[in-house]
Symmetry: C2
Subunit: 234 residues, 2 copies
């Protein structure tokens, strides 16, 4: 019979504090500089105590990656859900804009997810993938759902069917047709590229000026996904 459950409750609390503290550390020193000892110090515990909760530094990183993906996923899904279903272009813009917002607000998390890989660490795909594909899944759903035909930009010549199938499988959207797939991947790539060049300061420091570039990337993505249209992005 359960008398109090003190232990169980405490376990949950420590787990939560551990994650929260690790996130704070990540935001301050970045992924490469993250250390178990620093987290323990910040929590006021002995470093060895944390090994009761995590198996080592790698698991700490995995925890942070999954958490960051989920945080991003929550943010983007909420923004997308707020747009009327029929406004597919608006939904794309909501995805892109909220992705950008979150990234600017959480630069170290962004670097962890979309920057260069952390040395000596390889994320376990089985724990990372479900959360890591939430945003792209949203995009894929949008692409599949849109009733109007894909833009078929004249300058894009499609590769042969077998290559396309390979790519569709790798991107985890096996039933998507070629034009949509390529257009969607290009839109996504452009989005990530624009955010990266802003956050990683590849075009000089002043972030504000790059808003212009980001807006253009969103417009380009919209055109890639849905073709030309009278309506222009806000």
């Amino acid at each position: 019979m359960r008398t109090s459950g003190t232990r169980e409750r405490r376990r949950g609390e420590v787990n939560a504090a551990l994650l929260a503290t690790a996130k704070k550390e990540l935001a301050q020193v970045g992924a490469a500089g993250l250390s178990v000892r620093a987290v323990a110090r910040e929590m006021g515990m002995a470093p060895s105590a944390l090994f009761r909760y995590i198996s080592g530094r790698d698991e700490l990183l995995t925890l942070l990656i999954v958490d960051a993906y989920d945080d991003l996923g929550d943010h983007v899904e909420a923004a997308e859900a707020a747009v009327p279903r029929s406004d597919v272009r608006g939904r794309w813009r909501a995805i892109a804009t909220s992705f950008h917002e979150w990234s600017v607000a959480n630069p170290h998390e962004y670097a962890l997810l979309y920057g260069s890989p952390v040395p000596q660490y390889h994320a376990p795909a089985d724990r990372t993938t479900p959360s890591g594909t939430r945003v792209t899944t949203l995009l894929a759903a949008l692409g599949m759902e849109d009733p109007t035909p894909p833009p078929r930009p004249a300058f894009l010549h499609l590769p042969d069917a077998s290559q396309l199938r390979d790519l569709a499988l790798a991107a985890d959207v096996p039933e998507m047709e070629g034009e949509r797939l390529i257009s969607g991947l290009l839109a996504w790539t452009t989005l990530v590229g624009a955010v990266s060049s802003e956050l990683f300061e590849q075009l000089g420091e002043p972030v504000a000026r790059l808003d212009t570039l980001f807006a253009a990337a969103v417009a380009l993505g919209e055109w890639l996904l849905f073709g030309a249209d009278g309506r222009l992005p806000a």
Copy 2:
């Protein structure tokens, strides 16, 4: 009067060996893992000896960054120079393709230049910029030189003139007009985004399948820079 010049010669040799060894280390462990001691070990010298040649770890990184930019610059400039001057689209494709080639061949160097910043290190702009802008300078020259009017894609609404001027100054092409500038930056961003998503494995592991995506990115860039055309990229 100079009797032998042994010292001077030796100094040059050690400098060269230092850079070569540091590059080898970079290729093996990446920027974040690079250490002065490891380089000294590899060179068969005492760690303290290297302080006669560099001021510390930061300068080692700066050296590597400049060298990588120059290596990349040489490669891309050579590829671009091999295309007839009149074939502006072919020159763009040469830039993009050779950029991709170099990046795949030198992933850690690429990460150093275009990935997340190395923690605790900030590159001195005065030493980094000249080499770091070689590729984009090539692109800018191409854009300015092209006699045909810019594409003015209908979906891109231009921001106001003052923002454009700011952006043009930040990108170091003050005399470039708005459409060209935005189109060029988008093409560049898309290129970097495509290479990053390939090298940083953001779309599953199998690199080969992403060739398809990269080819599409090159085609998109060409269209952004020069508009629609009968000729399609190879």
